[in-house]
Every structure is written in C-alpha cells, then in structure tokens.
Amino acid sequence: MSLTADRETAFAVTVRRIAEDVAAGAADAVDRESRFPQEAIEALREARALSAFVPVSHGGEGVGFKELTGACFDLGRACASAGMVFAMHQIQVGCITRHALGTPFFDDYVADLVARQRLIASATSEVGVGGDLRTSVAALTPDGAAVTFEKKGPTVSYGAHADDLLTTVRRSPDADGSDQVLVLTRGDEAALEQTSTWDSLGMRGTCSPGYAVTARVTPEHVLPVPFGEIAAETMVPFSHLLWAHVWLGIAAAAYDRARAFVRAQAGAPGTTPPSAARLSVLATELQAMRAELAGATAEYAGVIESGGSEDLYTVGYAIRINTLKISASERAPRICTAALAICGMAGYKNDTPFSVGRHLRDALSGALMIANERIHATNAGLLLVHKGD
C-alpha cells in the first residue's frame, strides 16, 4: 500500500474505534443532558483526527474526502452530536486548507491547528437573511489598520467549545449582501455573547445557541478568495455530503436496533417473525441511501482530487448536490420511523437496547439545516433552464 493509503486506513480504524469505544457510550448522556460530547472530541483530538484533512505538506494526514465521509458515518452511528461536531469542524478545515493555504498567516495558522488540534466552529447563519448562506448583513469595517465586525448568529454550533471561529460577512460596509468574505478569528479575537438557549428536540450535544459575535482583527485574517468561490467549491458540497453521512450513520444505527429486535424475536431456524418482512423494507431504504451518498461522494472527490473545480460551477451540479441534501435529510428520519414501527414499545421507550427515539429526534434536524423548503425553491429556479439531457 502507498503511504497515503496507510494513513487513510489508520485514520478510518482510529475514528471507528473512538466511535465505538468512546462516543457510543456517552451518546445517551450527551443527549439527555444536552451537553457537548467532550470525551469523543477529546479522543479525536488526541488521535490528531482534527487535522486529518490537512495536506501532508502542511503537517496533516492528508486523508481524502471519502475517508472524511466514512468518519462522519462511523461517528454519527455512535453519537449523532459527536458526528455533527466533527463534520462541521472538517467543513471549516476544508474551507481553510482548500482556499487559504499559501498566505503566511494561514500557513502559520494551519501549523498551529495541526500542533494543537484546534476545534473550529462557524457563524454563517444570521438574523435577518432568512437562512440564505450567500447573503450577509454584517460587514467588515475598516478601523485604522484593523477590521471589525459584529454579527448576530441565531445558531452557532459548539460556539462555547470551539477554539476558533469562521464567520461570513460582507466585504465592506457598502458591499452588496452577496459580496461576502470569510474571516477567521482565533480564541479571544472574537467575543461571543450568548443570546439564546439550546434546549432542542435533537442534536442536543451540538450545543448550538445564538451568539452575538464581535471581533477586531488584522485584514490577513480574511480568507484570500471571495466567499462565493469557497461556498461553491467547498462549503456547500462538504456540508451536504458530510452532514448526509452523519444522517446515514443515524439511520444505520436505527436499522441496527431494528435488526437486533427482529433477531431476538426469531424462533426456531427456518421461520421468520412477521416483523422480518418490514426489516427487509427498511434495508432497502438504507441501501438506497448508501448508494446515493456513495455516488455523490465519488463524484465530488473525483473533481477535487483531480484539482479541478469548473465542473462544480454547473447548473447540473448545483441541482444534484441540492437534491442529495433533500433526499438524505428526508430519508434518514423515515428510516428511523420505520425502525420504531418494528421495535414497537421497546423502541419508543428510552431505556431499552432497542430505543430509537434519540435517533429519530436527531435525524429530524437534517431537513432544517439549510431548510429543504429553501433548497426546493432554489432548485425550482434551476430546473427551468436545466434540460436534463
């Protein structure tokens, strides 16, 4: 095997071990107490998994995108909150390593990220833009040699637990809402004032209340390319594919419990319990979801690993990645609901080996993270020009 393949295999094995040995055992407590999955993130940090995607030339492991999706799946299967925190962190790492390396500031930052396994959160949503990633109200404002911004973020996942923060803002006070840049703030460079709470239906361990973010930094903290490029080439496809693998992990975990329930019901070999037929229906849904994600992952990994990006700027690609997000976020809770129907009361109760309530509640978040309604509206416009030929 090549060195890269060795590193990728070691990464996959390590993350799976952390998922099974650390994250899974804490998942119920993380959910019940709505607390950050500290032990899982700490284990990932010790295993240097937070910098896994950083190129070898910059001290990271240089693992591929497909391996990141596998890690999100394994973690999501054990603890959806831990999986989602890991996924969101890797989205931020992807944005920085794919768009900012080569400037002295970001080269130094990435070296520090590798050395100290810094956890990065993001403040992309904003009060007053209706959930549109590509519109900002807050603006970067020159102040002497520095720049400042103030942003009202309605949901900043693990904001209180992250070391650093990436924030979208308009390029300048007179820039259009869509003329955005992405700004890194490290540690105390940004002040976060909590403005709301996070007592949520699911994904309770992501700890995602609102914050008012204020910062004053040097201009070199601004990623050197327009946010529109970062969004199209990295943030949107990374988000949809890594999130979807967390949801697939949740769905697989619910399936695991339904299968275990059916197996426990099975009598003498040669007969199957009535619920086994429903398990087969469930397996069909899960396999379709796996196949859909595998295809979309291979397409994106192929584009970025060939060094190209032009194919991501097509109407066809925008429709495909949007459709994938909608499909995966709707399918995961459907699979959890079907698993609940198989497990019955044992699934509905929170304290049996067949409980799937947490999985269903966690999976329901998918349709709201960049609301599917909004994505359908975007696709509706794109489909007017796209012929599907």
């Binding site: 590509r134 700027y313 109407v315 066809g316 416009g381």
Partner: protein, 83 residues
Amino acid sequence: VIDDRIRSVIGDYAKLSGDLGALADDDDLYAAGMTSHASVNLMLALENEFDVEFPDRMLRRSVFESVASIRAALLELTAEAAA
C-alpha cells in the same frame, strides 16, 4: 447588434452593481456583482431573447461570465441551428 441585445438582457437581469456602459466585453460579470440566482435569470432571459435553448453542457459559470463568452455560446448555437 448581437452585443447590444446581450448587453440589454444583462442590464435587465444580471443586477450588476456597477455601470453597464463601463463593462468591457471580457469583464467578469460575477465579479461585477451578478449572483448565481441572477445568472439563472440571465440564462432564461437570453433563451427568450434569442429563441434558443442552452444545452446542459453550456449551463456553467464560464459560459455566462462575460459578454464575450455569452456571444461565443450564442454564435455556436445559431451556427448549429443553421447547419
């Protein structure tokens, strides 16, 4: 003449932040403020104006990024139609 019609459609739909008259043929419309949402409206408006349909292979940023690239695409489509 084709350039005037292209520029007229751009003026109506690309929602540029600057002055259309100052725009050179090779200037990047996205850099001039056209959002991806506006670019889709531009595609539809060009299809209406020139009575063409852009095939999917042309529905990419590089085809709609400037007056010159739009003209090249339209000329290719009308040449195909005439052939």
